[in-house]
């Protein structure tokens, strides 16, 4: 719904998303034995007679979003933009429970968020033709409330909390000839009230005050023919820990592991320097290389606890959030070549190194180095367009830079190579009708591998080959 008056633009918006989603009963596991059985079986372990009813375990979600947006225009396209939005997320999870409790949700929570964002954007042209200044400043006000329904009879995954944040920001961009210079700053104050019942049902009320800042200085230059572009950017930013990093406590059924938050976490603060060089030669050749380095104070990370935790359902691997000083650096490069009209080639490489500088050790769960190459041939015929056939090979190296001081439940998996392929075409039936067909094959050599960053690697291999056929009919 919108109103347009001279110089004003007013919009109101409301949406409701409602979903009642059944969960695969066989995937709802009680312990590691169940998980191993589920993985080893070649069909779902629990198959019940067909029904139209969605039965437990299931998940019921209602998400309301209401938004009002007001824009007031001034001279030279300068404008004031005010947006208020309200969101209510109501989530209930129903399990198969004992003692006739299956009709009571095992998890029931309401997450309310109120957000008010106001900003003023302005542009100033200077007499010298080639320069102008663009700026945007504003403030942000956020109030969030997570309310658990106590009727569940289960300790909530995320405790009740209230979160209030106020922020102010300003960004300036100065354009002169081939240069762009950028400056930005942001300050946020967040107050976080947690309400948590401890094991003896005593109400704990931790209160956190977080001041977070962000500053950004950047510049870019390109040559007159647009063949080379250089960008550099230095930023300082901070992030306060989220509710699950602070408070999570318990079993994640999805990954069969215990996860513990850390209530002593402080905000993460870091300086990051990013440099990018982009080049291109006519239509035939283009490259992009990015190098970044960042120094992070109080870097938040999840690491395995020394021993699995013994529970009545057996022992589970357990993980906890920790904090340290860290340094990361990384390099990404892409080379694209189109030597002929019908052929595209591409090479990519990516590398990240993470160091725990406080412990003088490597950081855990850093992505492995990887390289990939792809080739695609494509051609447009008269009626059959976008006929294409492509292949992609990716090689992921073994992560050898794992921490020496953390004992992982399983050593980092070996290097692996996967091959993907993709083919398809569009058939124009008439001017207004089109049929598209494609086949995508993933891991077509059926490589057996595990990925260092997937927590299922503790129990099982990644997916084998997977073929996807797509048929699409479109009205143009």
């Amino acid at each position: 719904m919108g109103i347009l008056k001279k110089g004003w633009d007013i919009n109101a918006y409301y949406s409701l998303f409602h979903q009642n989603l059944g969960i695969l009963k066989s995937s709802h596991i009680g312990n590691l034995t169940d998980l191993q059985n589920a993985i080893a079986s070649n069909r779902p372990l629990i198959i019940q007679p067909f029904t139209y009813n969605i039965e437990n375990p299931r998940q019921q979600i209602a998400h309301h979003l209401a938004k009002i947006n007001i824009i007031k225009f001034f001279k030279h396209d300068n404008h004031l933009d005010v947006t208020y939005s309200f969101q209510l997320n109501n989530r209930k999870e129903y399990d198969i429970r004992r003692g006739g409790r299956s009709s009571i949700p095992a998890l029931a929570m309401n997450l309310y968020s109120n957000n008010l964002l106001a900003s003023y954007s302005r542009t100033k042209q200077f007499i010298k033709k080639n320069s102008r200044l663009e700026g945007k400043s504003g403030f942000n006000f956020l109030a969030k409330h997570n309310a658990n329904n106590p009727e569940t009879g289960i300790r909530p995954l995320i405790p009740d909390y209230y979160q209030y944040s106020t922020g102010i920001f300003d960004m300036e961009k100065f354009f002169i000839k081939n240069f762009i210079v950028e400056l930005g700053g942001r300050y946020d104050f967040t107050r976080f009230y947690g309400y948590k019942f401890d094991k003896s049902n005593k109400l704990l009320k931790p209160v956190y005050n977080f001041h977070t800042y962000a500053f950004n200085v950047g510049g870019s230059w390109k040559n007159n023919t647009d063949n080379i572009q250089l960008q550099t950017n230095i930023s300082y930013s901070s992030r306060f820990p989220n509710a699950s990093e602070l408070f999570s406590e318990g079993l994640h059924h999805g990954i069969a592991a215990l996860e513990f938050g850390n209530e002593n976490l402080k905000p993460e603060r870091g300086v990051k320097w990013v440099n990018t060089i982009t080049t291109n030669y006519k239509k035939y050749f283009s490259t992009e290389a990015t190098f970044y380095i960042s120094q992070i104070h109080n870097f938040i990370y999840l690491a395995p606890l020394p021993d699995p935790v013994l529970t009545i359902r057996g022992a589970f691997p357990a993980f906890q959030y920790y904090q340290t000083n860290a340094r990361l650096f990384g390099f990404d490069a892409t080379v694209n070549a189109d030597p002929f009209k019908f052929l595209s080639l591409s090479l990519r490489a990516s590398l990240v190194r993470g160091k725990n500088t406080s412990a003088n050790d490597n950081l855990i769960y850093m992505p492995s180095d990887r390289i990939s190459g792809s080739a695609e041939i494509h051609h447009d015929f008269k009626k059959i367009k976008n006929v294409h056939l492509g292949m992609m090979v990716q090689h992921v190296f073994k992560q050898k830079k794992t921490p020496a001081q953390i004992i992982d439940y399983k050593a980092a998996p070996d290097a692996y190579t996967t091959l993907n392929a993709d083919a398809g075409f569009d058939y124009l039936i008439s001017e207004h009708h089109k049929v598209s067909f494609s086949v995508t094959g993933e891991n077509i050599t059926n490589a057996v591998y595990r990925d260092y960053l997937n927590r299922f690697r503790y129990y099982s291999d990644e997916l084998g080959w997977n073929l996807t056929f797509r048929l699409k009919y479109s009205f143009l």
Partner: protein, 190 residues
Amino acid sequence: MKITKTLASVLLLASIIFVGCKKDPVTPQNEEELITTMILSLQKQGSLSVQNFVFNDPDGTGGISATIDSIIIEKAAIYSAKITLLNSQSTPVDSISNEVLEEGTDHQFFYLSTPSNVLSSFTYDGENDTNGNPIGLDFSFATWNAGGSGNLKITLRHQPDKNATGVSSGDITNANGETDIEVTFPVILY
């Protein structure tokens, strides 16, 4: 100026509404289905005394580590066993075994000895469910003549397929369902 004033008042109003609504949650969340304690009571055939062996995790998952007793019993004997499940977090202490019994068709215990000859001849005793299938809160077994040591794993499955092959005679292979309990007691025969 007018806009600035409007904005300021909106902000003020918003903060009053948001902050004013804050109130403490009052109802503590009781873990009603939590099983904190499993007591395995063993009685040697022909003897009057009962020995209790306990798995105990009073604060539930996480927190203080669970404790588990070693089952130290006589070799070359027959024992009858009874399982009691408790939720020590609720007052009065809740007997979860009664819930298991009431919903007998949805529950079944399984026993596994490693090595398999340390404890053998597991037999379901006590009350069956309404379909005449075993529940397994009560059972009996024999201890190895030669003595030795090993482990006894006791598993409780929720909604197992009791009609699948072997399940009603105590074979867990085809039982499926969800594991509610999996406790492994060390066993020493003397």
